[in-house]
Symmetry: C2
Subunit: 417 residues, 2 copies
């Protein structure tokens, strides 16, 4: 039996506990364990956004002399505090999807002899679609790894898929969006490199939740979103990373004026910047960059190592509660059991996952999210999630299912919107 | 002699005069005639942004059920109020640069027999670079119109460039960023269509300043920014337009999850939406969409026809003042003389344009912008520019140059940043 008191004791000893008050919480009864489609609003972000809007109103176009550096300065902040990258390797720009496209196309242009792209069948939809589109446009094969749905892709999976030595690019998620499985970045990079392929990582579910070591693990390329564990707000733009050694070799397929050397000379011929700015395209969104900077500073202040320690403990508690309370109710763990092999969310599988998820939101004021066909994702962002929240969320969950309340909500519609 | 009183009389009779107070003006001495890199901050936008941030903090992920429609609903608002498009033809997404890339690539894919892309040598840099990149990637010719630098591209220019009937795409700006020349959209579209080419318009300097009639003029494709005359803030994302009749035929090169039919089924194969949503890519930026909606509503409330009437009168006053005061000081009109042939900004050419521009900002509190090699752009957004502002800006300008104050500021640096 796991008592609530045990969770409260963990909270009392939590060195990150005070970060919770840095975020807006206007419904004390709600347990927000979205996993993680949208991080909470940091109070500092609300203030920074208002200040930036005031600056726009006041300084107008003259403020661009300061704003113009934001894509690279916020990129460097992310690179150092979150991504384990060196200065000049990260920029903030565009959406995760557009950045995936830019970097994947650049990699394919950089490996013109390649005949295949490797990803896994359970990769996030936009990643699969972007790669499918590039493969179709260039007459390449999109080779889909068939991995264990819980454990995700492994280095042997990648080595086997690359054994034909015709692979230009391997593109995977660092933390799987559904299962939460954490890929072994170093081993997979090594397997891909041994076969002559470049590796492009999607860090959307790991940036801000798991230490990412892009330099150390030999990563070539990466992208990721900022609205999950970086708390930059709904649809905030993404980041991209290109390993320094590849910068002179690779170029974006989208030749935009923010990638142009001596941009304001507005010269007749495209001549890309030598640094990471060559992967910028259009005018950067200043308000969004403000929110990303504020969110990244919070993560930097807490420290990604401390975040990981707490994250692992939160997930451990969730797994223990699942085993104790939920297995008898038809639940199954959809996340690796090994703490070293998972990110910051825990996925539970259930035959009625859709209805359980809806009932939790509508009747129990617990907000996870559903990921088809049968998973409920529970995210535990360490900056604002208490151990008692995990306990309370799963306590409400077990009571709800025990009472059959989920059977009272509507079944999953044919089309989810 | 044009007296200040004449300008003040025009202000007294201005039906749009009250809109000025809907914007933030915190320095009453400053004349903001940026032309137009960044529109002013509407007071309603500051409020809407704060409300949206509050909604993020409060409703969290559950608010996505409302936010998810914003790219198309704000697109339709722009389509009706600003662009002369039909419902379902406009979406807000990405930057102007990325949208140019998506639509130009779609057009080239849709005209596989074409061997050339036509644009003009004075088109905005990002447009030229995007097209240069696509031409290079596909082995096409980028055919550059050599137009009159003041009058811009004409239908005969386009007809001549397309006479070889090997052109897949003509891409031009509706209002030229430097000269302010307004292209004849209907005649140019007709000339391109007669030669079998599609036409892609950049509306960045016309959206919100000039009535755009996409449907009526037979435009195929268009993009444009929202941070100029739509006042949506620094780097706010752009819009894109695809003529309904082309939607089934054309598809984006970037296959993203927001373009996917039944997106949240997260199915294995990309199957694009049938409507304009097929040109969406990643997760839309909700805060930016909020600012675009607020800015577009202001334009809709004023009415684009009334905006155009005032805009033409503001430019007429500027041209008259230029002729009376500035010609003797070495200035030359860099904008068409015919009011029907220009947008909302007036470009003045001067041998010392860079220093005059700097001196205006630093010593006269007048903020235009410089566009190389020798142009100063004066923008007159009708929603917040008074006739007296035009008079005052040019009066300060003539005094400054008469006194040689521009010769006291530093010369143009080798690299402008």
């Amino acid at each position: 039996m796991i008592e609530r008191a045990r969770a409260e004791a963990l909270d009392a000893a939590d060195p990150l506990a005070t970060f919770r008050e840095r975020f807006v919480h206007d419904d004390p009864g709600r347990i927000y364990v979205d996993g993680n489609s949208l991080g909470r609003l940091p109070k500092e972000t609300a203030e920074a956004l208002a200040a930036r809007a005031t600056e726009w109103g006041s300084r107008l176009v003259t403020a661009w002399s300061d704003w113009i550096d934001l894509p690279l300065s916020v990129g460097d902040l992310l690179g150092e505090a979150v991504l384990g990258a060196r200065p000049g390797e990260v920029a903030v720009a565009d959406s995760t999807t557009v950045n995936l496209y830019k970097l994947a196309a650049a990699a394919l242009d950089g490996r013109p002899g390649g005949r295949a792209i490797v990803t896994d069948r359970d990769n996030f939809p936009t990643d699969r679609y972007v790669l499918e589109g590039l493969a179709a446009a260039r007459g390449l094969e999109l080779r889909l790894l068939e991995c264990d749905p819980v454990e995700g892709p492994s280095a042997p999976d990648v080595a086997a898929a690359c054994a034909t030595r015709d692979v230009a690019l391997v593109s995977l998620s660092h933390v799987a969006y559904r299962s939460g499985a954490l890929a072994d970045m170093a081993a997979i990079s090594e397997a891909a490199h041994a076969a002559g392929a470049l590796v492009l990582w999607d860090l959307s579910h790991s940036a801000g939740s798991v230490p990412v070591r892009l330099t150390e693990t030999g990563a070539d390329l990466a992208v990721g979103c900022t609205y999950k564990y970086l708390n930059a707000g709904p649809g905030a733009p993404a980041f991209l990373y290109v390993r320094s050694e590849l910068l002179s070799e690779l170029r974006s397929p989208i030749w935009g004026w923010f990638g142009q050397r001596d941009q304001f000379a507005m010269g007749p011929v495209y001549d890309p910047e030598s640094g990471i700015a060559r992967f910028l395209a259009g005018t950067p969104p200043v308000l969004d960059l403000t929110a990303i900077e504020a969110g990244a500073r919070l993560v930097a202040e807490a420290g990604i190592k401390a975040i990981r320690v707490k994250s692992a403990a939160l997930a451990e508690l969730a797994v223990a509660l699942h085993d104790a309370w939920l297995v008898p109710l038809g639940f199954e763990l959809g996340t690796p059991r090994d703490p070293e092999r998972r990110g910051a969310h825990v996925s539970l599988r259930h035959a009625e996952a859709w209805r359980v998820c809806r009932a939790l939101i509508e009747r129990a004021n617990v907000v996870p999210d559903f990921r088809g066909p049968d998973a409920i994702r529970f995210g535990f962002p360490p900056l604002y999630t208490r151990f008692a929240d995990v306990w309370e969320a799963f306590d409400r969950l077990r009571r709800l299912v025990e009472h059959g309340e989920h059977l009272e909500v509507e079944a999953k519609p044919a089309r989810i919107t």
